[in-house]
């Protein structure tokens, strides 16, 4: 009986937010969590830095990356459906061309649309002359 009363007091403290008991839910589509700057989301490839050497392709443990021709040069292409976001491609890139953005909303309707071609990955940093 005393146990039930103690429990009732504890739950009432939660209802009234007494002590350190804030409502922690985040109303996801309307508000978002603050991400860490090193969050591993979708990749991005620096158009000017990438030399198409293929070291990322060799190092990718899941075989996510293939080097494809885009325009006149060679760039990595990511199959996000196979990626485990380990970040090895970012670590091994000799030119620091690959980085990971904070984009985590990658769900899609088809497997084909999970393949991110260079067209969707490339960004060009402003080069200081």
């Amino acid at each position: 009986m005393s146990g039930i009363i103690k429990g009732l007091i504890v739950t009432m403290k939660h209802v009234l937010h007494i002590g350190n008991r804030p409502t922690v839910t985040i109303q996801y589509p309307y508000e978002r969590m603050k991400l860490s700057p090193r969050f591993r989301g979708l990749h991005a490839v620096d158009e000017n830095a990438c030399i198409g050497c293929g070291i990322c392709e060799v190092n990718c443990p899941n075989g996510t990356i293939t080097i494809v021709k885009y325009g006149t040069r060679w760039f990595p292409q990511f199959n996000i459906g196979m990626c485990m976001f380990c970040g090895l491609c970012v670590d091994v890139c000799p030119m620091n061309a690959i980085k990971m953005t904070g984009n985590y909303e990658l769900a899609d309707y088809t497997r084909e649309s999970l393949i991110y071609t260079p067209e969707r990955l490339l960004f060009s940093k402003e080069v200081k002359q």
């Binding site: 429990g7 504890v10 739950t11 839910t25």
Partner: protein, 369 residues
């Protein structure tokens, strides 16, 4: 003293009753008007109960969410208030599945037998001054008798589903209902000893006024043990979480309504919350003074029913909140613990309570002290 007279009074005050009655009298059919008024009462009661039940499903989710430091439903309507409407629309759109080997007639009948008594219980409950459908002289007996129909329907549902979990859940529900109806009725009889009447209006009227000008003359102060017994027994009868054996998810998946879907499931769900509201209203009527409260004397006569209704609803929602709060706090007990509690503790305590109450009432009535 009931809603019929209230409607007649209002119509008379508006000057509409006499002409309408004369129209019906001209055709020699004044009973038609009576039937119409009763029908209006029933429609208002049904609408009130269904809206309350929908609100209660929302409130339950909100209270659970508050205890678990979440928000609960937030998207549909302000603070998710229209969530029950969406749930209803969703349930109506669901496929109505009847299992192949089920007893189809009983399977279809059972949700209605659960649902209708849950509404019928409200007939002798005084929602406010004058706001009672019918002041039965055996009101309390009627309430207990009508509540006793629901285990039959639950057994029907469990049997007709042709599913082992359904049948087990139904068996448990019946065992639980029977063992907890006894302390429930005994605790209610102790109240009846004070009033000398089974009529709910008499019970509420006996609780009007105060002692020493401060303490309201509610039966909770005369019957603290009876109140606790009645509350625990009614929570067990409702089948809410410390005692929800009929649908204990971890053991029976969903209990007796495992095979039900769509609107049939919705009827069980609505009946459950209508039962919660009814039981809370009965607790308020018996122990918490019903609609009694400080009604200021300067109010016009037509406002008194409304104010008393507000008092009644405040008290009822307090009891409902307690039931929800308890549900979110305590885990489910074991079935043997439940029956032990019922037969070894609650029934003897209720009998003791009845004995002491009867003794005191006899002494006081005969002026020994």
């Amino acid at each position: 003293m009931n809603a019929y007279e209230l409607i007649v009074n209002i119509l008379t005050a508006l000057g509409a009753y006499e002409p309408v009655l004369n129209i019906f009298k001209a055709h020699g059919a004044e009973y038609v008007l009576k039937v119409i008024i009763v029908f209006v009462e029933i429609v208002v009661l049904m609408a009130f109960v269904l809206v309350t039940v929908m609100f209660l499903t929302w409130m339950e989710r909100k209270v659970v969410a508050m205890v678990q430091v979440r928000y609960g439903p937030m998207v549909t309507g302000p603070r998710g208030l229209l969530q029950p409407v969406m749930d209803g629309i969703k349930l109506m759109g669901k496929e109505d599945i009847i299992p192949e080997k089920a007893d189809k007639w009983l399977f279809t009948l059972a949700p209605f037998i659960v649902f209708i008594p849950a509404i019928l219980v409200f007939v002798p409950i005084p929602f406010g001054d004058y706001l009672i459908i019918s002041d039965l002289r055996v009101g309390l007996l009627y309430i207990i008798a009508i509540s006793a129909i629901s285990p039959v329907a639950i057994l029907l549902a469990g049997w007709a589903s042709n599913n082992k979990y359904s049948l087990l859940g139904a068996m448990r529900a019946v065992a639980q209902d029977i063992s907890y109806t006894i302390p429930l009725a005994l605790a209610a009889i102790a109240v009846v000893l004070f009033t000398g009447s089974l009529s709910t209006v008499d019970i509420v009227n006996a609780q009007s006024g105060t002692w020493f000008g401060i303490i309201p003359k509610w039966f909770i102060f005369l019957q603290p043990l009876g109140f606790i017994l009645f509350l625990i027994a009614s929570i067990a009868e409702m089948g809410r979480i410390p005692f929800d054996f009929q649908e204990s998810e971890s053991e029976l998946v969903a209990g007796f309504f495992i095979e039900y879907s769509g609107m049939k499931f919705a009827m069980f769900f609505l009946a459950e919350y209508a039962h919660l509201f009814a039981v809370s209203a009965i607790v308020v009527t018996l122990f918490l003074g019903g609609w009694n409260g400080p009604i200021p004397s300067f109010l016009p006569a037509f406002a008194v029913p409304l104010v008393s209704l507000v008092y009644f609803l405040i008290k009822t929602y307090a009891v409902i909140f307690f039931a929800m709060w308890l549900r979110d706090t305590v885990p489910r007990v074991r079935i043997d613990q439940l029956l032990n509690l019922g037969w070894k503790i609650m029934v003897p305590l209720a009998l003791l309570n009845l004995l002491v109450t009867g003794f005191l009432v006899t002494i006081l009535a005969n002026g020994v002290i």
